[in-house]
Symmetry: C2
């Protein structure tokens, strides 16, 4: 199928995939941990043994991308080499090594009537995933679906379609080897855009959709979806240096949070510092930023303290800078009165992704944690740690900037739900 | 304002309410347990001291309802008498007596990098509630909002508008007395229907909408909302009697689950019984149903065993009966081969609300709990127990038949979210 396929055919195809996913999800939900882990281990082995076999399919995508004039760094993201596949295989093995949370029962407490009431963790059912470029997302999503006992329908970008197809075939081979339904992980084979429209509007078959890609993709899917969306919008993250901060630590953290890597969503984009801490802190961090070529967009007070750094690129910040997610060697810097002003600033301008305080003051630390309304709130560490692997989730299907259902890095737990379990000995309602 | 208000005025009003709610929610989120509990206790006292003062407003609603020819049982649901208000007051006091879950930190575990990662329970933010008839829902929603640290915007039905206004004024008085923002609980003063349309399409100001009313209302809101909806659709609940069931218990439970009250969503609407259990069980329960005037709609096999009951109203079930939520003295009855057939039937026809097994077989009980895909799964007790109060939630804002976010009875916990808390000692990402 291609972009000339009649819309009705795409709708029929998606309905068929949805129905198959729903049936497979019932099998996955009751599958034993042993079977699910076997599928993950077989998949890891297949990825390692197919490094060469995957090359022709991947080469088709790479050639098409080059032919279309795609920039070299973007072409690189499409590449499935030995290293990428080994990382995918290790991810599968890590998930296989984790305990199985499906069926876990918690909070079983006896009520006055005599019944005992608790909750059981169960899979959500079927998730849809819409993603761009990197084909290894196919393996990440598939492995999380398997571990969490869900079925999934994956829709990768047309730029990686050949690679995705080849990887999805390995996933289905692994499922079959573990006596699990291959339809538990289905890839949408058509590159027709109408398939996305269908995938996100089938509440009978799809319980949640997870878009992974640019902001445009995520906004479009959020506004058109008829099922819940786990969405990840901006990462405008803050590091706030409090009066009582250990200055060496503050400099180390502000450096790492901004410069360890510029492109991730958890990189710090805005630095806040109290009036009292500014004279010690700002010249020290400015020297580092200047050396690393990080442009500093400053409030008038901050300008005074950073301008002395040799080679510094310093400009006056405008209001948009406080909202900006640069994903580049640029940072906004603002001097604030105190922790109250810092919290107020963050709750106004932050994208509610990840924000950190550097402080030795216990009360300020507790207030920051409680009052900053972001998915991850941190004390004395780098915002760059906001990540499913660093949080011990085993794997991450995305980072949610929503408050509903899952917030922050989403791993296996974010793909589950809790149902009530009630155990009686014949009690009746009076 | 009334139904002739220009749409733009309603939109402006709702935007203003949304903005005020968002500001109030930030104060509520950091409010101490003491303040929130004080507001609840003051509200309880106000409800008791205003039994007479509330009468004129309530009488306006009652008179209008009678004038409009509303049926007497429906008019009764609008009544705010001493008993109704005392129940509301006790509900507020029960919530005040409960521990405060906001700020609770769980799962704080050290990761290999040295950071400790856990989760903190925080309010969702702002919820909207759209409800019909009973004005006491205003107090239930308001008290849950206060305890959970959320702000809310309430839109009751036009039939109870005077009562709702009077109750909302008491709530705002209680908030003020506890030094909390009165805008934390706002009632939409206009009966213009456009207000609902605005309320459910303001993601900037409203984090989740909870409709409470007929299926039509819930379906309409679900399809039009641009924010997540906690929805409660049908309650087609099953009681399944297994081979090994204690027959006296099975009869007692099947009786209670169906006949203790016919109208609630957690009443059993369909009875399943194994071939082996049918000869003992069905004649016994049929005698009770026949005596209580419960019509039995049976599969051919069940027909044989129930028809002997004196005075029984027995008919042959058609396929729609297995899907039906009667909310009336009618029950469908089907004989199934075994626990596998029962689970398959339930997962096909149930509305995923509440389903119970009566059994002495441990393996069957475990399989039923794990494999039946419903919000509440029960062993050896009455489906009528599926209720926030019976589950120990303190209060209930609704019952969710969704899997996303909250499932089953929704109390304070269902109005909260978990954010990540990360504690470091200066760790940086390598």
């Amino acid at each position: 199928m291609n972009s000339t396929t009649p819309a009705s055919d795409v709708a029929a195809l998606m309905t068929e995939m949805g129905r198959a996913a729903r049936i497979a999800s019932a099998h996955m939900a009751k599958a034993s941990a042993a079977k699910k882990n076997k599928a993950l281990k077989v998949l890891a082995a297949l990825l390692r043994s197919h490094v060469d076999a995957l090359k022709p399919a991947n080469e088709l995508d790479l050639a098409r991308a080059r032919h279309a004039g795609m920039a070299a760094p973007l072409v690189d993201r499409l590449r499935l080499d030995q290293k990428t596949l080994e990382t995918c295989a290790q991810g599968c093995e890590q998930l296989a090594a984790m305990g199985d949370v499906i069926g876990e029962i918690s909070g079983m407490i006896q009520q006055p009537s005599g019944i005992r009431v608790g909750q059981m963790r169960v899979p959500i059912g079927v998730f849809g995933m819409v993603f761009e470029s990197r084909p290894n997302v196919t393996i990440e999503a598939a492995s999380l679906a398997i571990k969490s006992g869900n079925a999934c329908i994956l829709r990768g970008g047309s730029e990686a379609i050949e690679s995705n197809r080849a990887l999805a075939a390995l996933v289905q081979q692994a499922l079959t080897a573990a006596d699990l339904p291959p339809d538990a992980v289905q890839l949408v084979a058509t590159t027709d855009r109408a398939a996305v429209g269908a995938l996100i509007t089938m509440p009978a078959f799809v319980d949640v959709v997870i878009p992974r890609g640019g902001k445009g993709l995520i906004e479009r899917i959020s506004s058109e979806a008829k099922v819940p969306v786990i969405k990840h919008l901006d990462g405008n993250c803050h590091t706030f240096v409090d009066d009582s901060a250990d200055m060496a630590m503050a400099v180390r953290l502000a450096d790492n949070a901004k410069t360890q890597k510029y492109s991730p969503c958890n990189a710090t984009e805005s630095l806040l510092v109290t009036v009292a801490a500014a004279p010690d802190f700002l010249p020290a961090i400015a020297a580092i930023y200047a050396e690393k070529g990080v442009e500093m967009r400053c409030c008038p007070q901050a300008l005074k303290w950073v301008s002395g750094a040799a080679g510094a690129v310093v400009t006056a910040a405008v209001d948009e800078d406080w909202y900006a997610e640069y994903l580049a060697p640029i940072i906004s810097i603002k001097v604030v009165a105190d922790v109250d002003a810092a919290i107020a600033h963050i709750n106004t301008y932050s994208s509610h992704h990840t924000d950190a305080i550097v402080t030795s003051n216990h009360v300020h630390a507790q207030r920051f944690l409680r009052e900053v309304d972001s998915a991850s709130v941190m004390v004395n560490t780098s915002t760059r740690f906001a990540d499913g692997f660093e949080y011990g989730l085993g794997a991450e299907i995305g980072i949610s900037t929503d408050k509903f259902h899952a917030r922050g890095p989403v791993g296996v737990l974010g793909l589950t739900s809790l149902k009530y379990v009630v155990l009686g000995q014949g009690e009746i309602r009076a």
